[in-house]
């Protein structure tokens, strides 16, 4: 993995209505990595990407791409950047292949039919090349957007929620394609609401909320910190205390001893494994239960945790 390909300092954006979508973002992206930007609705993900790609005028701060200030050397920077926006947006009446050629030309690349074919084939769109875009399914349309963004062979690719509204199979397909791009040396920044998507794809993960980056870390480290499992065992008879045999598990008793709660895990699957062990061994140890509910921590929990942490740190 190389040095920084993108360096963002103190980036702010206040929209005309007064919404502060970015409140001082500092972020460095390394060459060759896949960076996942996680955040709830309205966190500022699309705004951040827009500011880097030229769709949004930042109110303050600076962006350096490929070592150059994008406000000054915007032409050079944009040639090497590709963008797949969140919304499907193109001339629906146009043909697939024409739209892809158009994108390549607009980014200043000479015509190259072989490359266009390659891009379309890699996205399983070659058979549909002469179809009008409006005749395609939603998933295919999204892939046309990706094909357009890849047509000029960008070194840095932004995917704004590439798998939103896409079925499981297609999502896996897309993950594979993103992986292939990484193998080809493309640096990728993607946004998502799905923690498992970040888990599957990313080298590093950033969490953004209310226009602030709350945390940036290696994926494994984040998953270890945040990938938690919660399991509720509803007991047949109340317990006064947790049996010693289970003391090494992160267990608590709630509801007057009627409920045994497991809260643990580190994002490696340890949480699920331990809950499975507990489910098997509790009965053997004489602790009967009538119900079991498990829940993986969601992104929302993570935000609540992070925001609370942030508030505590500020108070301290």
């Amino acid at each position: 993995m190389g040095g920084p390909i993108l360096d963002i300092r103190g980036l702010e954006k206040t929209y005309k209505g007064g919404t502060k979508a970015l409140a001082g973002v500092d972020l460095t992206i390394n060459k060759g990595e896949i960076f996942a930007l996680l955040g709830p609705n309205g966190a500022g993900k699309t705004t951040l990407i827009g500011a880097i790609c030229g769709l949004v005028n930042p109110t303050a701060g600076s962006i350096h791409a490929f070592g150059q200030n994008t406000a000054k050397s915007w032409r050079e920077a944009r040639r090497k950047i590709g963008l797949v926006p969140q919304e499907l947006s193109f001339d629906m009446f146009d043909k697939v292949i024409r739209q892809v050629r158009y994108s390549r030309g607009m980014f200043g690349c000479p015509p190259d039919e072989a490359r266009i074919e390659e891009v379309l084939r890699s996205l399983s769109l070659w058979d549909k090349r002469d179809a009008a875009i409006r005749e395609l399914s939603g998933g295919m349309k999204r892939r046309v957007m990706i094909a357009k963004a890849l047509a000029h062979d960008p070194e840095l690719l932004f995917l704004d929620e590439p798998t939103a509204g896409v079925d499981v199979e297609l999502r896996r397909d897309m993950w594979r394609q993103i992986d292939a791009l990484r193998a080809a040396g493309v640096t990728i920044i993607l946004t998502t609401h799905y923690i498992e998507e970040a888990e599957e794809m990313a080298d590093r993960v950033g969490v953004i909320n209310k226009g602030r980056i709350l945390l940036v870390d290696d994926k494994d480290a984040i998953m270890a910190k945040l990938g938690r499992t919660e399991a509720h065992f509803t007991l047949a008879t109340p317990l006064a205390e947790i049996p010693a045999a289970f003391a090494h598990y992160p267990l608590t008793l709630e509801e007057g001893g009627m409920r045994l709660v497991y809260r643990g895990g580190d994002g490696t699957g340890k949480g699920k494994r331990e809950v499975a062990e507990l489910a098997q061994t509790l009965a053997g140890a004489g602790v009967a239960y009538t119900g079991l509910e498990t829940r993986e921590s969601t992104l929302e929990d993570i935000f609540v945790d992070l925001v609370e942490q942030g508030a505590q740190e500020q108070a301290a």
């Binding site: 790609c53 769709l55 949004v56 032409r75 963008l83 390549r104 607009m106 980014f107 357009k148």
Partner: protein
């Protein structure tokens, strides 16, 4: 460094969109204008006294005005529609994220819109020959002038397309301003035929100068000095370029 490939890609894309709907977008203005020429020029015009129109037949007199009407409305609406559509569908994201600036965008969108209206005007001019006899006294100047007018109003339309935030606004200017002013600007009559105060009032209509400029290149005579007409068109062109340059610098209606 201008991104010429980008500029021509936009131009080609816009022209392709035009030819995709060529049947309607060419046929309807050609048909409308031909009807004017047939009804007013050939049928009614035969009854008119040529001395009122600088010696030319009435049919030949109205041809430049009708060409101007086509040029103005087609250039304006093609360009405004051309840039409004990507704003409407969201496809503008690509333009904004691409290495294209004001020069490439103008070349592509405005160039295509002007070219379309020139193609339609040429077809009308050829069709008109079927119905009326006209001469073009200064063909080189006529072509130069027509290109300048097409470019100016395509620029104007581009600004309207950027300004518009709904389909109605796209229609307002061509329908409520350009069309009436063109009809009142002497397409069908010479201001010499008007009584005061209308003769003076007519001089405040900017399109009056455009029509008479073109008419001069056709017949060699018009109601205004040709220098004034050319100067006027050039000034309008420069103004539109300046406005567009300002728009791109500030990102008005383009970037958030």
């Amino acid at each position: 460094m201008m991104n010429w490939r980008g500029a021509t890609a936009i131009l080609k894309n816009e022209l392709a969109r035009f030819f995709r709907t060529a049947f309607g977008s060419i046929l309807s203005p050609v048909l409308t204008t031909s009807l004017y020429i047939v009804v007013f020029g050939a049928a009614i015009g035969g009854q008119m006294d040529p001395s009122q129109f600088g010696g030319a037949s009435y049919g030949a007199f109205i041809v430049p005005g009708l060409i101007m009407l086509t040029l103005l409305s087609e250039s304006t609406s093609n360009a405004s529609f051309g840039i409004y559509m990507p704003k409407f569908t969201g496809a503008i994201y690509e333009l904004l994220s691409a290495p294209v600036g004001v020069a490439e965008t103008i070349f592509g969108f405005v160039g295509a819109a002007a070219l379309k209206s020139l193609i339609i005007s040429a077809i009308i001019l050829i069709t008109a020959r079927v119905f009326v006899d006209y001469e073009i006294a200064h063909p080189v100047l006529a072509v130069g002038y027509v290109v300048m007018v097409a470019a100016s109003f395509a620029l104007f339309g581009f600004i309207i397309g950027l300004w518009a935030d709904g389909f109605e606004k796209l229609q307002i200017v061509p329908l409520l301003i350009l069309m009436p002013l063109t009809f009142l600007g002497g397409t069908f009559y010479s201001v010499q035929m008007l009584a005061e105060p209308w003769r003076t009032v007519a001089q405040f209509n900017p399109i009056f100068y455009l029509i008479n400029g073109l008419r001069w290149t056709f017949t060699g005579s018009s109601d205004v000095p040709i220098g004034v007409a050319f100067g006027f068109t050039l000034a309008f062109l420069v103004l539109c370029v300046a406005v567009i340059a300002w728009i791109f610098r500030t990102g008005w209606r383009l970037r958030e």
